[in-house]
């Protein structure tokens, strides 16, 4: 594996107060440089808290985060040089124009006037914001505001860009534009860590994923490997008329060539299988003798992975 750029070790965060909340409960993570890395999990899983700690905005209860070798708790001001952040909410400076949002960000990070102006012009061009340069952030649509936030976050050429729920509240078209923008960052050598609870987004965009729930990482791998872990590339959900025949049917289905797994689901049986010609027909014929009502076919998704690991749906 290539060089590790974000190293999270034994991270814990307990929010104090009358009812303490353990938001992050022992997370270990290595993000390889140059990847787009996803934290996928339902609301309240601890994604934002993890990002807040990694970006020096929250103090961990235990554990450490190193960004490009710099400890974010011991050296927050210096770690920030390697970090770009787009938080969950819009944090554009409403007293400054679109161009000034980027320009002053460059100045905060030590560029002189000429460098900052050049960088601002290039980023406005790259993110197709040039014609709105003199507008104020309040006048931007959600998609444009999000693009400006990304442009500003990478203006100082950070090594890692953190995106917290980048597509929350975006219309489908803006979401795709945002995905393109994020994918283009790969070419600039920027590592991206993003959180999401949209499994399509995680699947489409990320090279590697950690599925996170209740402050813990359940599993970590490439999206393809995660989906393969389900144990088949086709899923047939069979709805059965009566429950009695099920056990016998389960055994007979297991014997069908190509079937890799059979499990009970409410109202029927789920068959996991490797795709091959004639497989669906064989499964349906076998099940038909035992009172098949209906069949739906799907392919394993990250949603399936999540449900198998937690027994819950990703979106509730």
């Amino acid at each position: 594996m290539s060089e590790t750029i974000v190293a999270i070790t034994g991270l814990r965060k307990v929010y104090g107060g009358k009812n303490p909340v353990t938001a992050v409960d022992g997370i270990d993570l290595r993000v390889p440089a140059g990847t787009i890395y996803g934290l996928l999990g339902p609301n309240g899983a601890g994604k934002t808290t993890t990002i807040s700690i990694a970006t020096t905005r929250a103090i961990p209860t235990a554990g450490s985060v190193r960004i490009a070798g710099v400890d974010v708790v011991a050296q927050p001001a210096l770690a920030r040089q390697s970090i770009g952040v787009v938080p969950q909410y819009n944090t554009l400076d409403r007293s400054c124009t679109v161009a000034e949002n980027i320009y002053f960000h460059c100045r905060y990070f030590g560029m002189n006037k000429g460098e900052a102006e050049g960088r601002t012009a290039r980023l406005l061009e790259q993110f197709r914001l040039s014609d709105r340069a003199k507008a104020y952030p309040q006048a931007l649509s959600g998609g444009l505001a999000q693009r400006l936030q990304i442009a500003r976050a990478i203006a100082h050429k950070p090594k890692v860009l953190f995106l917290d729920e980048p597509s929350a509240g975006l219309d489908p078209q803006s979401r795709i534009a945002m995905w393109d923008a994020v994918q283009a960052l790969r070419g600039e050598g920027i590592t991206v860590v993003l959180t999401t609870h949209y499994m399509e987004e995680a699947d489409e965009l990320c090279d590697r994923l950690a599925i996170i729930d209740h402050g813990k990482i359940l599993i970590e791998d490439t999206p393809a490997a995660l989906k393969a872990s389900v144990g088949g590339d086709k899923i047939y959900d069979l709805r059965m008329r009566d429950a009695d025949a099920r056990e016998k049917l389960e055994e007979r289905l297991r014997a069908v060539e190509g079937v890799t797994g059979v499990e009970a689901i409410p109202g029927g049986i789920r068959v996991l299988a490797r795709a091959q010609d004639g497989l669906l027909a064989r499964v349906v014929m076998t099940a038909n003798e035992c009172g098949l009502q209906d069949v739906t076919t799907t392919e394993p998704s990250l949603e399936t992975v999540f449900i198998r690991m937690t027994g819950r749906e990703l979106r509730e």
């Binding site: 905005r57 929250a58 001001a77 920030r80 040089q81 909410y89 409403r94 100045r107 905060y108 990070f109």
Partner: protein
Amino acid sequence: MKSEQRWGIYSRAFLGLMRRDLRVLSRELVPFLVRVAMNPLLFLFVFTYVMPHMSGGAKMSPVAGMAAAGGGGGFGTVLLPGLMAVAIMFSGIAAVALPLAQEFGITREIDDRVMCPLPIAAVAMEKIVFSAIQSVIAAALVFPLAYYVPSTPVLAHVSSWWLLIAVLVLASLVAGALGLTIGTSVQPKQIGLIFGVVVVPITFLGCVYYPWAALGHIRWLQWGVLVNPIVYMSEGLRAALTPSMGHMPEALILAMLVFFLVLLTWVGMKGFARRVLS
């Protein structure tokens, strides 16, 4: 990393924040000047121009008699340092507390500045310093007003420039630190209450419209107002600008301004860190 390198990064970030604030202020220059000038202008107009032209005006203003007794020059002479102190304090509230309320609001637009390569305490410090610059401008604006508006000329006399500069700078920093303390300790929704609950009381009980010595007959009040930092701003400016008027000892004034600066800066920075870190 070498320490010079680190200071280089920090100082460029600090200057970047100052530049940003300067740009924002420059766009609001006219509203800024109007806001700063309105209070002293109206005060001087009503109390040193309108009232003296009314029959019995002097009797309506009890301090006027005392001002005369204290060395002449009329109420304007009492008001000049007081109005400068108010201008300084208002600027601190308007330059730090009110913007902070917005920046900590729903949008959290302060985030990008908090994320610059600078310790968080220094981000708070920048707020205080930039506010102090506005306070000095605000205080300076009171001069021409006090020169042109009153019907009786104001008797101002700078006995020591060093004292004036020290008081002006300290008072301006105290005002910024006060703004930081208020802006970080009050919920954004409640910032509107600040004027009624904090600003008006500390102004009226801040020896702005009367010298501290004039409270001699109300002992409990004379001691009570000592916890109010505005008292030392007004008295300090009184000592530096209108020394003929009775004022507190200069060393005490400077010591108390330093004390309030340290206290309010510490509380304000704590509050700032609490608001931006979780």
